[in-house]
Amino acid sequence: MSAVAARWRPDLGVLLVAPAAIFVVLFFVYPFAYGFWLSFTPAEGGWLANYEKFFSDSHLWRTLIITFQLSLPVTILNVALALPIAFQLRRKTRYQRFVTTLLVVPITLGTVLIAEGMLTYFGPRGWLSQFLQLLHIYDGPIRLTHNFIGVVISLVISGFPFAFLLILSYVTGIDPTLARAAATLGAGPWAQFRHIYLPLLAPGLAITFCLAFVQAFSVFPSAVLVGAPSGPTRVISLAAYEAAFEQYDYSMASTVAMIMGFAQLVVVIIVLASRNAFYRGPVTGAKG
């Protein structure tokens, strides 16, 4: 390298990164650090008083359990539903494009609109209920809203397309020749899926699980609109909301938010760590 080129010059790369970096610091790092600090400055008591209160008050610690009870099954359900459907649609066809478009729609709707629709459709006097009773398929009362099930349905409607699109992109990235090679070696459709697709998809499924879980864990509007926010679907974000905007205890609200974030982090770390058990290289059979 010549002496001229080796001389120090301002790195233009830093300038390119700067706007994003400033944004992250201003709108993520600072609020997070501030909230973290705030959670240790309770209105009364020692610096851990809020955390002690959270884990001793059943009204508060139960929200954490409820949120897990809601978000873990929903996430598993979303990923488990999305995987076979994405797998069936892995070949590029017009059908694939049609289904993909159809499934993207709920993402664009937003949870409030989904909740509105659910109240009309799944509610006690909703279309589904009226239809079933009209045909005498089921005559009992149908309660699919304002309870735990209502929130599950809402989270599947909004979370499934997301999981599906993500998994579809992972599935289509896998070289189909690999499955053909497996077929010539005697592997039937199930064995091809089990030995070729599944192991190559595992890291992608882990990522999908994490993102879908974080999304479900922070459920808020649907827990209120189609759930039972005073009891069975009193999720942790509701506890934070109440502390902040009903009791005006920002310190307690920060504490709840910190616990919420920590709980998500634990799950994400466990899932991502398990990813290391799988092969994570390129997913084609060509030399590389």
Partner: protein
């Protein structure tokens, strides 16, 4: 499927595709071929000639649109690939990237429920055969192209398939490795006595490997013959062009006698051997290698050298003869551009065809 079969019979096997405008196009048209056990058959042709389609139909990766495929008296064209059990080597190898090389090779045996210790034995033997012993626990991504190729072959042969299918297995390798692997494939074929169907667009590969070559074009079989016959006696003009008969002259017929034909036109007179019954137009095809500098024989053409390309052992020269007719010739002499030379070619090596068709 039994490996002690007598023959694999393709009877009028066709495969149609719908092209984007909805028309049905024949990628493979009524391929009939009988392959005997132990034979090495090459499907040879330019890209798009239907050779890979034929291979995929035999492997079961593509359904046939018409015709039947049978192993002796057992019809197999309706079986899925996993039931046919033909070993296949793919162009891009298609090694499972998440499995060690050993697991890749063992995969087919595992699918067949072979006992563990037998798997270990047979896998070890396969590794020895392709000379990869010591690399068993690597991932495919850690091997070179040639090694990956050999893993792909080992994976296909370890299941002892009745038929080994190879789809341009050497096209991703560099020239030197290609030559080595070619010899390797021939050696493995000989050692195992397996039946092999090999697809390639490279005539050198086909000539050196095959017991019989099937030359294809546009989904149609052009010629089925031993390498020497395909090389020296192409059945039609298309095969001739593909086999390196670069000089093709359209000439008029001057006379026919004793199995020879004399042609003239463009200021040239040429004696050749008809390969088809000639009606109307006559096309004389000859290889640059068969033309030499000299004055022996009935075919002597005088011309001017316009280009000379040094090629080591010999040179490729371009010579203008007659009325602006360009001929390519190979010679160990070194004429320079501008020199006048006399070219000669034996009438036996001037093959005369009636046209492009079959």
């Amino acid at each position: 499927m039994s490996e002690n079969f007598k023959e694999l019979r393709l009877a009028a096997v066709s495969r149609h595709f719908a092209n984007p405008s909805g028309q049905r196009v024949a990628a493979l048209h009524e391929l009939s071929l009988t392959i005997k056990r132990g034979e090495f058959i090459c499907l040879l042709g330019p890209s798009g000639c239907g050779k890979t389609t034929a291979l995929n139909c035999i492997a079961g990766l593509l359904p046939v649109s018409g015709g039947t495929i049978s192993l002796d008296d057992y019809r197999i064209d309706l079986l899925p690939p996993e039931k046919r059990g033909f070993g296949m080597v793919f162009q891009n190898y298609a090694l499972f990237p998440h499995m060690t090389v050993r697991k890749n090779v063992a995969f087919g045996l595992l699918m067949r429920g072979t006992p563990k210790d037998e798997i270990a034995q047979r896998v070890a033997r396969a590794f020895k055969l392709v000379q990869l012993t010591g690399h068993e626990d690597k991932l495919p991504g850690q091997l070179s192209g040639g090694q990956q190729q050999r893993v792909a072959i080992a994976r296909a042969i370890v299941i002892e398939p009745p038929l080994l299918l190879m789809d341009e297995p050497l096209s991703n390798l560099d020239a030197k490795l290609r030559l080595e692997m070619r010899a390797e494939i021939r050696r493995i074929h000989k050692e195992l006595g397996r039946t092999t169907l090999y697809v390639t667009h490279d005539q050198d590969e086909a000539l050196s490997l095959a017991d019989r070559i099937v030359v294809m074009k546009d989904g149609l079989v052009q010629q089925v013959a031993a390498p020497e016959e395909v090389y020296t006696q192409p059945s039609n003009l298309h095969v001739a062009r593909f086999m390196g008969y670069r000089n093709v002259l359209e000439l008029g017929i001057a006379g026919e006698a004793n199995g020879k034909i004399s042609l003239e036109g463009s200021g040239l007179k040429l004696h050749g051997t008809p390969k088809q019954s000639i009606t109307g137009k006559a096309f004389a095809a000859t290889r640059p290698e068969d033309i030499s500098i000299g004055t022996t024989g009935p075919n002597v053409l005088e011309g001017r050298v316009v280009n000379s390309e040094y090629g080591g052992r010999d040179s490729l020269i371009d010579v203008i003869v007659g009325n602006d007719v360009l001929l390519h010739a190979r010679t160990t002499d070194r004429p320079q551009p501008g020199d006048t030379v006399k070219l000669t070619v034996s009438p036996d090596r001037v093959l005369v065809y009636s046209g492009e068709g079959a």
